[in-house]
């Protein structure tokens, strides 16, 4: 559905020296039809520029962007405007017209596409039902909550039956609970309409919750990409590890571990990583039954992703050296990731 081949985008900085900033640096990726693809990065990583090249709001300095069979990076004028009706976008700050009611905001893209008034009215009613805004049709954006505004944004984006939905930090301005309800709506739309969704975010929570695949961006480059579960299991880059920690390791874990290492200089603190089915096997029970060890659970968490669950568990084990080595070997055989955390 979407193919980016070696795209780069440079901006001239305002300085007299004529310095160039590479916002996006040689990025290639392929996004399939019906996929929810997440791009994560800190602010300034180039993800905003990248997503804007998918609908031609920015043109790449080099490389090509193909979306739904059109080369977005080449086309202009009417053709680009036609293409944009198939690639809609929702925004962090919703970007609704304050001068229009909910219904009229949703009708705006239909007016642009030249849909007749009666047909537009019908479509608007369908969309209002789809996003759950019944009864708010005649409200103005200023009378809505953040979550409701984003629902209007989503309805507006879906009005012309797009093939691709771009989400520009769509939940970053919302509270956690509203974020979850908007994410659920996006998954629902993805399943029901088979819509391809590309989203950018700085929250791993969003990636974990709805994305099938993820790309991690740092200073204009994609440093890592793959299925969400794989990236969670084996984050290769330091930045990816930090993002994964956002959802797996609460802040206090580190302190708890340090405390334990101090208290039990003898034993070992082990981080176990469970992915998919292994989250359901009774590993700890087996461990206690089969080995002469004291096992102490420090901290644990299981997260749901679109392709199964992902969990981490920190345990402290104590016993004879050989026994501990055997136990670790045993855990490895259970297809559970093991990492011994040492004193340092």
């Amino acid at each position: 559905m979407i193919t980016l081949s070696q795209i780069s985008k440079s901006f001239r900085t305002g300085l007299a020296q004529g310095g160039l900033i590479k916002a996006v640096d040689n990025v290639s990726m392929k996004i399939d039809q019906g996929e929810i693809f997440g791009i994560i990065g800190y602010s300034g990583a180039g993800k905003s520029t990248l997503i804007r090249m998918l609908n031609g709001l920015e043109t790449p300095t080099d490389g090509s962007v193909m979306v739904a069979g059109r080369e977005i990076s080449k086309i202009k004028g009417t053709e680009l405007r036609k293409a944009r009706q198939e690639i809609s976008m929702i925004f962090q700050h919703f970007n609704l017209l304050w001068s229009r009611t909910v219904s009229d905001n949703i009708a705006f893209p239909l007016e642009i596409a030249g849909v007749s008034k009666t047909e537009a009215k019908k479509r608007v009613n369908e969309l209002i039902k789809l996003v759950g805004l019944e009864g708010r049709e005649d409200a103005y954006p200023s009378q809505l909550s953040g979550g409701q505004k984003q629902r209007v944004g989503i309805a507006r984006a879906l009005a012309n039956n797009p093939k691709v939905l771009l989400c520009d930090e769509a939940t970053s301005a919302l509270d956690p609970q509203t974020t979850d309800s908007i994410l659920e709506l996006l998954v629902d739309i993805n399943k029901r309409l088979g819509l391809t969704i590309v989203l950018i975010t700085h929250e791993m929570h969003v990636i974990r919750k709805i994305c099938h695949r993820v790309a991690v961006m740092e200073s204009g480059q994609v440093v890592e990409q793959g299925p969400v579960l794989d990236v969670f299991r084996n984050p290769a880059q330091p930045i990816t590890k930090r993002f994964v920690q956002q959802v797996t390791e609460p802040e206090e874990t580190k302190e708890t571990i340090e405390h334990l290492l101090e208290r039990f200089p003898e034993g070992r603190v082990i981080q176990l990583t469970f992915v998919g089915e292994s989250t359901e096997s009774p590993l700890i029970t087996q461990l206690v039954r089969s080995f002469k060890l004291d096992v102490n659970i420090v901290q644990g968490r299981i997260s749901q992703t679109q392709h199964g669950s992902y969990g981490t568990l920190f345990i402290h084990i104590d016993g004879a050296q050989a026994e501990m080595d055997q136990a670790i070997q045993y855990i490895k055989e259970q297809q559970v990731g093991v990492e011994v955390i040492s004193h340092d």
């Binding site: 405007r81 705006f108 642009i112 771009l166």
Partner: protein, 222 residues
Amino acid sequence: MIEELLPNVDWEEMIEATYETLYMTGISIVATFILGIVLGLVLFLTSKGNIWENRPVNVVISAFVNIFRSIPFIILIVLLIPFTRAVMGSMIGENAALPALIIGAAPFYARMVEIGLREIDKGVIEASRSMGATINTIIWKVLIPESLPALISGITVTAIALVGYTAMAGVIGAGGLGNLAYLDGYQRGQNDVTLIATIIILLIVFIIQIIGDFFTTKLDKR
């Protein structure tokens, strides 16, 4: 009773002058509104980072606006005499005042339009572009509706300034309440005429302000 208090006021003349003032103000408000919005839009759209970004055009229009906004109106009328003669064929009467009124007020209003347009959230314009809107659609369905309260409060301020301008134009022969107050009131020492003309001008200003405020509040759904 009234005749005793205001011995010199010729009401028929006063009504005639009021009509002339309203005529000059009305026509020049409409023309200023249209011309100011066009200039303001061009100023906004050609500025840095906007859809028609074009430095030369922006600089030229900006200079034009700044120059005509800065010339004191009474001097502008004098400067425009040859132009007015060429366009209107005369320097006497209400129509002769119109070119100076419009050229004096439109640049002033254009700046206010530009400020109003700049206050529109850039994201809203970006969203419209992302939906495939043409520039035409963006102008008519986004820029103008989204800045309408600012456009209305701006034209209210401009309209009040225009009432003042018509009085000045009156002094040099354009007719209206200014002309009446100056010739019959001041030069012939009939203070009652000046007083009544002033009261009528104040009433016109208040009415414009009330109408402007009403629409500004009514249209603002933010």
